[in-house]
Symmetry: C2
Subunit: 348 residues, 2 copies
Amino acid sequence: MRGKVGPATMREVAERAGVALTTVSRAFSNPDKLSPDTLRRIADASAELQYTVNLSARSLRKRSSGMLLVLLPDIGNPFFSLVLKGIEEGAREGGRVLLIGDTGSDATLADAYAGQLDAGTVDGMILIDGRVPFPHGSPARARLMRAPVVALSEHVDDPSIPFVGIDNRAAGRDVAHLLADLGHRRLGHIAGPAANGLTTLREQGFAEGARERGCDLLGTATGDWSIGSGQAAAADILSWPHRPTAIFAANDEMAIGAVHALAAAGVSVPGELSVVGFDDIDFAAVGSPALTTIRQPRFAMGRAAVEAVTARIEGRTTAEPARILPFERVMRASTGPLGSGQTAAGRG
Amino acid sequence: MRGKVGPATMREVAERAGVALTTVSRAFSNPDKLSPDTLRRIADASAELQYTVNLSARSLRKRSSGMLLVLLPDIGNPFFSLVLKGIEEGAREGGRVLLIGDTGSDATLADAYAGQLDAGTVDGMILIDGRVPFPHGSPARARLMRAPVVALSEHVDDPSIPFVGIDNRAAGRDVAHLLADLGHRRLGHIAGPAANGLTTLREQGFAEGARERGCDLLGTATGDWSIGSGQAAAADILSWPHRPTAIFAANDEMAIGAVHALAAAGVSVPGELSVVGFDDIDFAAVGSPALTTIRQPRFAMGRAAVEAVTARIEGRTTAEPARILPFERVMRASTGPLGSGQTAAGRG
DNA sequence: TTGTACGCGTTATCAC
DNA sequence: GTGATAACGCGTACAA
């Protein structure tokens, strides 16, 4: 008895159930069209044979895989966690599954992922790292553009790709206003990496908001979104000739790093310096002090993104070039009114 | 001109290059066997046609997909981020790609994932949520077991599955010893969810270590790994008739939540209460106070896990039932010697 | 309602 | 070194 190795095939199920192979196929895709009796026999047969459809064969035939590719710059960034949950849930409801590519913001790597998934291996694509794989104008890029693609959180440089996210510029302005309302006039900024779209928008918005309220933006330190870079940036700011009374870090991790570095340097927050973050990750609420920040609707963003790709996959033309979701101020203990405690005593 | 829609096929490349279909196939898998000249012509032809191999067809034929399935309970848990990076890197080096399933610790969901990926759609599987899909003894489970599977971080109930991770029991003991060495005698524990393997091992180890050093384990509060549950657990502990002088939380998030709740209740850490966490996630280092914790080699764990599945996939029989990696004490400011500051003054 | 016949794009086998 | 041919497992006209 040589026996076969792999799992059972439709053909075997058909033989066992005493029907044609076609009928079995239909039993899995169009059960309504079959008589209850044959349906039952097929169900029994597949159960006995532990049959599962071969997805490779199915996607080869249908030219679609039931998979969504998600490209993100850093799976370790806690900002993405809830976003991914949203995407995941939406994908599952649509009967699709998630392929996740961590590009590390490396264009070559992103290309490798996209390339491998080019030929119908993937039904759609969600770009969270602000970059479209392949250089602009290249044939590969052009080919990719024909697939359902949406940009999430960060805009990409191709206007034909729908965007899902918040208005980062408006959010940056809002932070400046928030700080101005507390009486602050000398502001500082901890920005993300220079080449990044989010960096630009949040920084521009912040500068704009500061101007509108007659505040001085004394300077900008550059980080890379990481906790460590926030610490370094804070140290930098403390060395400026004119020290700000409030700083805005372009994400929560850098803000948390900054707060830690400030505490280590004996600077009280918010007594001497107010700090605002961005994103409202879980850890923002339990720092000491808890972080004032801008909340992005992360889960909803994920859901909206799948919704958008799914619409394009299924041919429902959304015609919606962008889906802008609302952000939200979250006031906590890391900000305070100017002069509330300019001594080292701080305020708890 | 009706024109075809999909991407180019091997057949078309072959025609254009003036060679047989077979030769093109070889050009992609066994380039060494071809003359430099034909190789060149094929390369040119595929470039002009923007050819990419169809992965569905390839996996149908080769009965392998180049994909690894990773099942984890919560993609939002920062512990997994570095682990995933390790897996990702290893998979990529092996020319494979990652399929990630967030099960939310829901068995049904895990089954759905595993089921959909059953029939050769996936080359191997890494289980990080301590559960093997499908009930024990079921045919589906049996079939799954024939595929290359390894358990990461948490053991699963099937002894035939290789394990990669640290010795959680020993780590729990080590925490007790650490605390005892600081002079603490009255200990408390914040455990993970009851049904969890990691919970059990860390708790047993902690209790064991406490006994060995003659410490009293005054009680255990139960959390669910989340920050919020750590806060609740701390509140619970403060209501115990006999209050411990040191507590061990089974992960960093609960520890951070606990520290925050203690601070809110006016309890100084480590002045009145020392706190130890587990995992050494990034945020552990920048809390106030920074968290004493047990570091797991997360990246290395991920690498080791891919290495193990890859070995099984490629038939290299590892014969290694378990791969135990070393953990490490990380002493920071959330722990202090007993009585160092039993007043509210604390120690910064 | 059910069955027949063919093709999806690739790799493996064997011959030249 | 290269080429013809047969699967791989499934979906879908089309016919019955």
